[in-house]
């Protein structure tokens, strides 16, 4: 059988169409640059992702856009001055940054804050955790196109900021912790006020639980996405809620003996076996509730007494080295303080949680689709000051 001209032509045309289709389906490599100023990066993180079509083959975070040189600056400040610097590291939960450094200095000087100061420290620590994580919960929605939660978060966060301002004088950067205690006692009526605010924050958690975590779109974009197994999480040094979401039952508030009064309260460390984006966000929601619980219980147990021990007027920290780490809103934050007996520290090494938490980004983003980059980054939750210091 011979082909007619017409059949031959149509055969060639169909072959050509197939070839065209193949070319169209072939995916081209592309480099996508997210940031350095992008809403999804909470500031100035830059992510370079090499894409194959919709899939990420390789991703790399570029840190350093917010590097402010804390470790070097601490060498030219005196011990009391350092706190005013370091509470700008994790700017959402500022008070929590001061505590480990002050504890390290106290360890070197071999003094301890009076019990009243310890309880108030713990309360303020937890309040700053609430202030930090509530904004995270609100911001989560924005990453997926839901604007309402962030307005709710900003509204309810103001109650906590008011309290922090009432007690310390600063909405954001309290600079309230001193070596040997606290700067001041609590103002009158603060405890009553706090009880009310904590109730409001608990309601906020319930709202977010319904509005966001009960949302079908949210669930389908979070569940099973960005799974980090426990051993990988350990390898990369994840800490805080990111580690607990992978099933690692580890919380420095409980597992460590520090002069903070967590053992006075009855609370629970939440873990989740899944290790996906959903688990990380859910853990943070539960932790906010736990923090509210801790604050509520500690408010009734503040002992009487002074808030400051006797410390010399000019603080000289004896020679030595100390390492103190606490469970900050973002994870384990520690200070390794080396003192040579001077007015200021000789060297301070800051271990901040976010730096380790984003080191997993190249691993976690490999093979995911482009829209998932945003949700995985959001659920890992980092703060730029905490990464770059």
């Amino acid at each position: 059988m011979t082909l007619t001209d017409r059949q031959q032509l149509s055969y060639i045309a169909s072959q050509a169409a197939d070839a065209r289709l193949n070319v169209e389906l072939e995916t081209e490599g592309m480099t996508l640059n997210i940031g350095p100023q992008h809403p999804a990066t909470h500031g100035t993180l830059r992510i370079i992702a090499r894409l194959d079509g919709e899939q990420v083959v390789w991703a790399e975070p570029v840190a350093g856009y917010m590097h402010r040189g804390y470790e070097k600056l601490t060498e030219v400040r005196t011990f009391p001055q350092v706190t005013s610097l370091i509470n700008r590291i994790d700017w959402l939960g500022s008070f929590a940054n001061e505590v480990p450094f002050i504890l390290a200095a106290e360890k070197l000087m071999e003094i301890e804050a009076p019990p009243r100061a310890q309880v108030i420290r713990t309360i303020l620590f937890e309040l700053s955790r609430i202030a930090n994580v509530s904004l995270f919960l609100g911001d989560l929605g924005v990453q997926m196109g839901a604007i309402t939660p962030v307005f709710l978060a900003f509204r309810d966060r103001e109650y906590i900021l008011n309290l922090i301002e009432g007690a310390t004088g600063g909405r954001f950067h309290p600079n309230f912790d001193r070596i040997g205690g606290l700067k001041d006692d609590l103002p009158k009526g603060w405890i009553q006020e706090t009880k009310g605010a904590v109730k409001k924050l608990e309601e906020f958690c319930d709202t977010i639980d319904d509005l966001l975590f009960g949302n079908e779109i949210f669930q389908s974009r979070m569940r099973g996405i960005g799974v980090i197994p426990a051993d990988i999480a350990k390898d990369y040094g994840l800490s805080g809620a990111n580690a607990r979401a992978s099933g690692i039952d580890w919380d420095l508030r409980r597992d460590q003996d520090l002069p903070l009064s967590y053992d006075l309260a009855d609370w629970k460390v939440w873990t989740h076996p899944d290790g996906d984006s959903w688990a990380r966000c859910w853990i943070r929601l539960q932790e906010t509730r736990e923090s509210c619980k801790i604050v509520g219980q500690l408010l009734d147990q503040i002992p009487a007494g002074p808030v400051m021990t006797k410390v010399p007027r000019i603080i000289k920290v004896p020679e030595g080295e100390a390492w103190v780490a606490t469970e900050n809103p973002l994870g384990e934050m520690g200070y390794y303080v080396v003192s040579k007996g001077d007015l200021g520290p000789f060297r301070v090494k800051i271990r901040s949680a976010s730096f380790n938490n984003i080191s997993i980004v190249p691993w976690a983003l490999k093979g995911v689709y482009v829209p998932d980059i945003i949700t995985i980054l959001a659920s890992l939750y980092f703060i730029l000051g905490d990464i770059d210091r």
Partner: protein, 214 residues
Amino acid sequence: MGLVDKGRLPAPLTKLFNLSRSYSLWVYQWGLACCAIEMGAAFGSPRYDVMRLGVIPLPASPRQADFVCVSGTVTDKMAPAVKRLWEQMPEPKYAISMGSCANCGGPYWDSYSVTKGVDQIIPIDVYVPGCPPRPEALLEGIVLLQQRIKNEDMAAKWRGDEFTTLQRTRAMEAGEVDREGELISDTRSISDEPMPEVAAAHPEPIVVGGGPIE
């Protein structure tokens, strides 16, 4: 508007234009550090609610923005990006520098990696001091910027010389320019003062809460 680019605009029209311009400001949020959260509180929270001032905080890109709010620490690594953003914005454009870091380096005045003031890179109209400034302070900065816009000569802005009506009035009182803003040539030859254009090339910045600059 042909009138504007010819460089002269009747006074009532100027007033009308300035009024409408000052109450529909689109702001690009260039949030860099801690101050960004306070800016977010001012722009995004129901308690402070910047939209009642006629400021719209959600443009998609600097190309749609009327003014930029630089809030937070500008590091040397970030500085080129800030400069590029400023160049992408269409004229007329304004800049607010929020927080001590953006004003002058703030707590990092002796750091090796921080740019000591964003005004080294872009011209700033309003400085908002504080570490971080309260959202109210930022709102006041915006109100002051709106007042400045209301006093502006739009045609002059269009020509590229930022010669505000206020400054023109001053120059007129000093006898340096005539009503149209033209230089009176003999005053220039008599006095050794710098030419008014040079003096007014960049209007003096405003500082929220008063106080000296530098």
